[in-house]
Structures are given as C-alpha cells and as structure tokens.
Symmetry: C2
Subunit: 219 residues, 2 copies
C-alpha cells in the first residue's frame, strides 16, 4: 500500500496511512511529502493546494466506507436488517478509523465547495448515495408484507421516508461523534477508552436509534 505508480496516487496513499495511524494532526503538506520521500514542493504538481490533497484522501475514505456497506449488506435480504448492518458499519467505521472519519467531515480542511477543480465527484456529494440508499431501504421497510405492521400506532403521523432517513443518519453520525469525544462514554459510565470500540454500550445505542426511528425489530 506504499508503492503505486504515479506520485499522485502515492501521495494519497501515504496520506491515508498517515491519517490512519497518526491522526489529522500529522497531515501537514510537508509531512506527507517527507514520508513519501519527495521534497515539500512536489505535491504542488498534482494538487493545487493542501486542501485539494486532503480532499483526495477523504474521498478514499468515502469510497472505503461505501465498499464496507456493500460487503456488510451483501448477504442480508430483509431491508430492516440491511439498515441495521449499515448502521453498525457506519458507527464502527467511525470509531475504528477515527482520524479518517474526522477528516471526512472537516469541511474547513476540504475543498467541498462547487468551485473545486478538476476530476472526481464533488466531495460533499459523496454522502448522497449513502443517503439515498437509506431512503430507499426505509421506503422498502414500510411497504413490507404488512405481516406485523402497527399501522394504527405509527403510521398516523409518520414522517416521509426522506425525513426519517435524515433523522436516522443524523443519529448515527451524532453517536459516532459524541462517542469519539468521550462525552457519551463518561455519561453512560463506561470504563473509558481503549482503541477497541467500547463494546456493548455502543451497540446498545445504535440499536436504540434503529428501534426509535424504524420501530422495534419484529420478534
């Protein structure tokens, strides 16, 4: 994962490694160049600015995340279970690759505006397919064979799928964020941090969010 072909790709790869191991603080432009074995001016040939390089690194993160989604939901058929797998994957990714996840949403470090330069999709739009997937799954969830739906209870004031999707995604994102900040961990009284994700409390929280937004999983 260190030697590719063009320097452009190598810089991105090095950047990914750096942010994975040493976090965002080590993602200086000169530092990346140093670890790639080139002079500090070299990256400029391929990335107009520091932010452009960071954006490319973050995009790798989004691609990686999407791949994990597909891997996690491949063997699952029920839309409800797919959503669960997706949720757990999202939060787990955020905590296992803390630095990368942080970078992906640090809009002050990324060229997220529409005035970004050349190839590749706009960065902020990288989250759109994820969102639409959630919307679709929720819609699918609601048109289930009605085997055990409680229409009398929930569907009365049920928000449209897009809103529920946004709320659910926000919930997952917030869980990841606040957990990484340690607020939740110390609020719930978990014995504090290891590099391994804190374990049960976290899973508990995610399933609570799922149940809240989708209704409890059917028994």
């Amino acid at each position: 994962m260190a030697q590719e072909d063009s320097l452009r790709e190598r810089l991105i790869g090095v950047g990914v490694d750096v942010v994975m191991t040493d976090g965002i603080a080590a993602l200086g432009l000169r530092e990346i160049a140093r670890r790639a074995g080139v002079s500090h001016g070299a990256p400029r040939r391929y990335f107009a600015t520091h932010h452009a390089l960071l954006s490319a690194i973050a995009q790798r993160g989004f691609a990686d995340l999407r791949a994990r989604f597909e891997a996690a939901t491949a063997a699952v058929t029920s839309p409800r279970d797919r959503l669960a797998a997706l949720a757990h994957t999202y939060v787990r990714y955020a905590l296992e690759h803390r630095g990368m996840f942080e970078l992906m949403f640090r809009h002050d470090l990324l060229d997220s505006g529409p005035h970004t330069s050349a190839h590749g999709p706009r960065l902020r739009e990288s989250t759109l397919p994820l969102f639409e997937t959630i919307v679709a799954l929720i819609a699918e969830c609601r048109t289930e064979p009605a085997g055990r739906r409680r229409d009398d209870v929930r569907s009365s004031a049920e928000p449209p799928p897009a809103v529920t999707a946004a709320a659910l995604w926000s919930n997952l994102h917030g869980i990841a964020q606040l957990w990484a900040w340690d607020s939740l961990r110390l609020a719930l009284g978990t014995p504090s941090a290891g590099p391994a994700p804190g374990g049960d409390h976290l899973e508990l929280l995610v399933t609570a969010a799922l149940d809240a937004h989708l209704g409890p999983a059917r028994a």
Copy 2:
C-alpha cells in the same frame, strides 16, 4: 462586550467575538492579541498555551448554551415540552453560532484532558449537566399520569432512560453537524443556505427525532 477589567477576561471576550463573527479560522493566538490591542506575547501571562485560551472561550459557549436552556424551559411545565424546547434550542444555537458550536466540540483544539491546568471545571464535563437534565426529563416523561401511554406497544423493549437520553442527544448533535455540513440540506432538497437557519425542514427533523425517541407527542 469589549472592555472588562483584567486582560484575561478581555482576551476571552475578544475571542468570543472573533469566533462568532469570523469563525474558527480567525482564532489564532496572535490574531486575538492583535484585536485586543496587545502584543502577541501578552496572552501567555494568563494562558499557558493557545489551547488554554481556546478552552476558556469554549467554556463561555457552554455557559451561554446552558443559560439559553434555562430561559427556554423556564415557562414550560410538561417534561415532554421541556425536552422539545431544549432540543430546538440546542439545534438553533448550533446553527446560529456555528463557529462557537464548532469550537466547543473540536477536541483537538481544547485542553479537554484531565491533565488540564488550574481553575474551572474540566471542559468535557461541561456537557454532563445537560445530559443529566435530559435523563431526568425522560424519566419524568415515563412516569407520567399514564393518561395516554401505550404500554403494550412501547414499554416492552424500552431502553433505560440513560440510553434514550444518549440516543436523543446524539440525534440532535448529528442533525446540527450534518446540517452545518450542508449534506442534509442538499439531501432534502432545501433551496440551500442563508445565515438564517434553513427553516421548516430543520424543525421537521428535530420534531421527527423527538417523536422517534419519546413517542409521538400526544394529541
């Protein structure tokens, strides 16, 4: 809001102004000193490091937020409505004072560790009273006169209040975060940003979160 007495307070005040108007990027140590009319070495008398000053600024934000909570829930009696007021206040604060809110949760800029220096409560614990308030309100919500509770439906696998509180808070935090990032706005197809909070879609999202975690508001 510019002239207090000791330079220490003035620096914090200037910092608050700066982050409110020009955002986090303008919060350099030298920049704050410059706007306070002192030399770049002056802050060092009162704050050992740049992060210490930023932490003091962030603490002002937490205090401000707490004050708004009390103001918003003072006239409300029903625990459910208090939670709603709290939620809307939280999200609105995050979007109206974007820079400050961002700073408050940028742990890489703050002395949040237990190895921080002198007076004042530890920074990360500033969120604890908020959390405990939510827990208490949720518990109170559940022991309501049972006038219209659906015990058969929800209480079967209802998570403990602390978990629900954590999930709800995470949801609000995520909404604020993703909305500020613009992902939600473009996902939901809102006409894009103004400095004024985007309006209905946001309120919709917040009430959706409230309904999901607490059950729909009673008709």
